[in-house]
């Protein structure tokens, strides 16, 4: 039995004049296009690895990927007898139908493009959006991927990201945090302020400018409350915040300034009688 490959390739598929070979060519061109797009975008990522921030690198790689894929589709479509100029004519009605059918998809797509070019968030940023807090893992065409601080993968549609209030914790170069430090009334507040400032000064990332401020903020029931306001570089403010407090506490304790215990002074209208011990001696306070 002979196997006629040419004959099989020339077999009509039943859709217009499209043959099996046309379909094969279409598939091959698309596959080659996608493969080239992947190879090129991977190499672009590698080449720009140390030269551009991750966010811009990913944006460039994605734009190149989609340009190559779209080019492959344009080259391949004529094999299916799809005339692009005809598509444009039919596009009016088809676009209307598709537009209504895929309203949310298009909305997410457009929001994704705006997000990529407006840059309210970048890959790696710590954000809070639509009630989700975490770091941005990826900004895709239709959705944004956020890894929450406890490591959970969260996909948020771009339309929701774009229309929500976005809090970007790392957008500015520096951010401030504060501590409330309680000391006893008998301790010297000026000395406590001086020691606290000394510890802050010694930390490299507690910024010199804007200068930190330490002051007596309020008089509590059992203690004096000092407030320390410190600026740190945004990218490592959390490290500074977690390191400094314990250093301040240690420094204060080394110098005899301690954290207060809750106290109550109780006044009695009459003298108190205390009884107890051998012979039930009675004493007055």
């Amino acid at each position: 039995m002979t196997f006629n490959v040419t004959g099989i390739l020339e077999t009509p598929t039943g859709i217009g004049t499209i043959t099996v070979s046309d379909v094969l060519w279409f598939v091959v061109i698309i596959a080659v296009g996608v493969a080239i797009a992947k190879i090129v975008s991977i190499n672009v990522r590698r080449a720009l690895a140390e030269r551009l921030p991750k966010n811009e690198r990913e944006l460039i790689a994605k734009v190149i990927y989609y340009i190559i894929v779209i080019w492959a589709v344009i080259v391949a479509l004529p094999y299916l007898n799809i005339n692009l100029s005809g598509l444009l004519v039919a596009g009016g009605i088809a676009g209307l139908v598709i537009g209504f059918a895929s309203q949310s998809v298009v909305s997410n797509l457009v929001s994704g493009l705006f997000l990529m070019f407006e840059h309210p968030i970048k890959i790696g940023d710590s954000i809070n959006v639509a009630g989700v807090s975490g770091s941005v893992e990826d900004i895709r065409i239709l959705s944004t991927i956020v890894k929450t601080y406890d490591g959970i993968y969260t996909r948020i549609p771009n339309e929701k990201v774009f229309t929500s209030n976005i809090t970007n914790y790392v957008h500015n170069a520096a951010r401030r945090f504060e501590y409330s430090i309680s000391i006893r009334y008998e301790d010297d507040a000026n000395e406590a302020i001086r020691l606290t400032k000394e510890v802050i000064e010694a930390h490299p990332f507690a910024l010199k400018n804007p200068a930190p401020s330490v002051f007596v903020d309020n008089l509590g029931d059992d203690c004096l409350n000092l407030t320390a306001r410190i600026w740190a570089p945004t990218q490592n403010w959390w490290d500074v915040r977690t390191e400094l407090l314990w250093d301040i506490v240690k420094k204060l304790e080394e110098n005899g300034i301690e954290m207060p215990y809750p106290q109550r002074t109780v006044w009695f209208a009459d003298d108190l009688r205390v009884t107890g011990g051998k012979g039930e001696e009675e004493s007055r306070i």
Partner: protein, 234 residues
């Protein structure tokens, strides 16, 4: 300590120890500086190690490229120019060199570091902050912790200007070493609140060796663009 080394060597200066030695048949790099230690096993056919001063913006970890020097306020009349000398912090870089390129192995330094914000939190930049006195000639410095910056200040504005700080983009920094570590820089004041700063590729003392810069070792392409101080000069 600064210079090139092959195979195994040992450098001990004050509180700094840098060495490579064969341990159990493995070439091992070790560094100790002010109680902090660093160790790596090296696999290299050439084992060429270069130690030189680098841009002082890497310790305790890299958060910025900018360096701010604060000094005693100087009042400059319109059109005047003056060269002064400042001290800047020195960090020491250890590089591995082969035929195919250079790799940063280690960066260390003595003393403490301090950072600051130049400009506003929304659009300012984090800077490595350092305070220096102003000198009219090259001052005495601790070779492995301080360098000398020759700074030419020119007031190109039409007003008297008070200057007490200068900010540089360290990727333009050219560092030289010999008996001291040194760099040459310029500051052109264009208004009472703005100035252009840049480094010059020329040592303040002839005959000094040029350091390998970190950004070159890291193959980061940069344009020598200088820096525009637009958030004030003090």
């Amino acid at each position: 300590m600064f210079g090139q080394y092959y195979d195994t060597f040992r450098c001990e200066v004050g509180d700094i120890l840098v060495e490579t030695e064969q341990i159990d048949g493995l070439l091992t790099y070790r560094r100790r500086c002010e109680g902090r230690a660093f160790k790596r096993i090296l696999v290299s056919e050439t084992a060429r190690i270069i130690i030189n001063p680098v841009e002082p913006v890497n310790l305790p970890k890299e958060v910025t490229d900018f360096l701010q020097m604060e000094f005693t306020p100087i009042v400059i009349e319109p059109g005047a120019a003056r060269t002064i000398y400042l001290k800047f912090p020195v960090e020491i870089g250890v590089f591995l060199e082969s035929e195919k390129g250079i790799e940063v192995l280690d960066v260390f330094g003595t003393g403490t570091q301090k950072y600051a914000l130049y400009g506003s939190p929304t659009s300012g930049v984090i800077v490595r902050w350092y305070r220096s006195a102003v000198y009219s000639e090259i001052p005495q410095v601790e070779r492995f912790s301080e360098g000398v910056m020759e700074l030419s200040i020119q007031n190109a504005s039409h007003e008297w200007v008070e200057v007490s700080s200068v900010v540089f983009d360290s990727v333009d920094m050219k560092i030289y070493y010999g008996d001291i570590v040194a760099t040459t820089a310029t500051m052109k004041i264009v208004s009472p609140v703005m100035a252009e700063t840049d480094f010059i590729d020329s040592p303040p003392i002839p005959g000094m060796a040029r350091s390998i810069e970190l950004y070159k070792a890291r193959k980061i392409p940069v344009l020598d663009r200088g820096y525009l101080m637009e958030w004030g000069l003090s």
